[in-house]
Symmetry: C3
Subunit: 190 residues, 3 copies
């Protein structure tokens, strides 16, 4: 839901039509998981197998179009949703990688792709350089990589569910600190 | 063929070289079907299995480069080709989805992707915001969604071939009316 | 390595952050092979199955960030690496296509995609029209197509390893001549 809202609002800023706004919401929400599924050959991709996800996204998109200005007032709630979503997506991505026996390092990459690349697709479609790669934007992928690495390290020694919760909480905590104190990665000088 | 011509002309407007024009023609023609095939795991993707499609696209692209100005005189013919193609692509996309047992709602999305996302790839490669999502461009996806929905509803009660013809005719009719009367989806206000 | 460096430097020019530079290096290096694998259904994609490639790319990216100005002094070495890489990638792409029984014409396309589409993804992510399609840039895909065609023709009559070497040498030779004498494909006039 939070990812849909982010996509839908970016689309509205560029003054796209209704179909454009719904599409961008959709792509932002399912883009990361779709790229992951395609890369590991998990097809038909996850969102096609069950109507729940598409319907939630569609509903969220319609709410954004109808109550646009109102939804914006829930900035804090949206940020929390987005952060929990980021943690959840990262862990799910890693689990799918581990399930087919990939190297943990690759799985962390898969988790990061799941969490972050919906936004990359959104920015590509809207003709922007992806926020994910820009030095003036908040760190985002770095948070997934740290949380994901911790998950891969802890899962071998503690029960899966506890490792899951720790990773998600860690991702939320670091991201909140990063946003609060405006942590940025330095630009790479040429 | 019509999709190839659309891609090739967009590329010529940006003054790409021959290889660029042929590539853009190719991507516009097979992009939608390729994304569909990749999403449902129908690989190697369709255009790789048979040389007919690639050769037709290549031939069309070469004609565009050689007789560019002349081809433009057939505006009405091109529009008709494009419209019939849109209907056909949509129905084929839906059929591939139904064949592997996907939910009809997802199949309509697959049909729309097949019909429309070649143009999205074209616009992404040429560094434009996709026409498909813009409020100042004609409705395009909406036509596929309506035609596709009708197809999915009618196919259960009438023979497949009749349902096919109705859907394609409907897509053609709505699109012609939409272009004639300049129907637009409203922009989503922020 | 050469492809990683090309991606990393393009990212630095746009002043991306560290994560952005590493990501762009990664995408440029594995993008072409990934698109090929996804199109033919060879999943999980190649770079996920073995840590060697990702680690080499990561190391190269870190070197670029740390010693940026210094790396640039090796222009000639980089160009040679890039050219050999282009030839190698093209031949590998063709072999993967032939191995699953695709038409040689399609295999040449697959080889060209493997060699060139990492750079296309790089340019799409950085919000540029792909160099590959531009008339003011060196010919690049054309070299792959010529070398690939020769490979497909010779492989039937001479041993595979000799055909391989000839194709790679041919690609290197043509590319060097093309760069030396500034060969360009003409723009397609409209």
């Amino acid at each position: 839901m939070a990812f849909t809202i982010s996509g839908a609002f970016s689309a509205m800023q560029k003054r796209l039509d209704w179909f454009g706004v719904l599409s961008l919401g959709f792509v932002t929400a399912i883009g990361g998981g779709t790229i992951r599924d395609v890369l590991i050959g998990n097809t038909p991709v996850t969102w096609m197998r069950d109507m729940t996800t598409p319907l939630i996204i569609l509903g969220t998109g319609i709410i954004c179009i109808t109550f646009g200005r109102y939804v914006k007032n829930f900035k804090v709630a949206l940020f929390l949703f987005d952060t929990v979503g980021l943690g959840l997506f990262t862990v799910i991505g890693i689990q799918k990688g581990l399930a087919i026996g990939l190297n943990p390092g690759i799985c962390v990459a898969l988790g990061t792709i799941t969490g972050c690349f919906g936004g990359v697709l959104r920015d590509m479609l809207l003709n922007n350089i992806p926020d994910l790669f820009r030095k003036d934007k908040e760190i985002y992928a770095t948070v997934c990589i740290i949380g994901g690495t911790v998950y891969c390290l802890t899962i071998k020694i503690i029960p899966e569910q506890i490792a899951e919760s720790i990773a998600i909480l860690l991702i939320c905590a670091i991201r909140m600190l990063a946003v609060r104190f405006k942590w940025r990665l330095p630009a790479a000088r040429q």
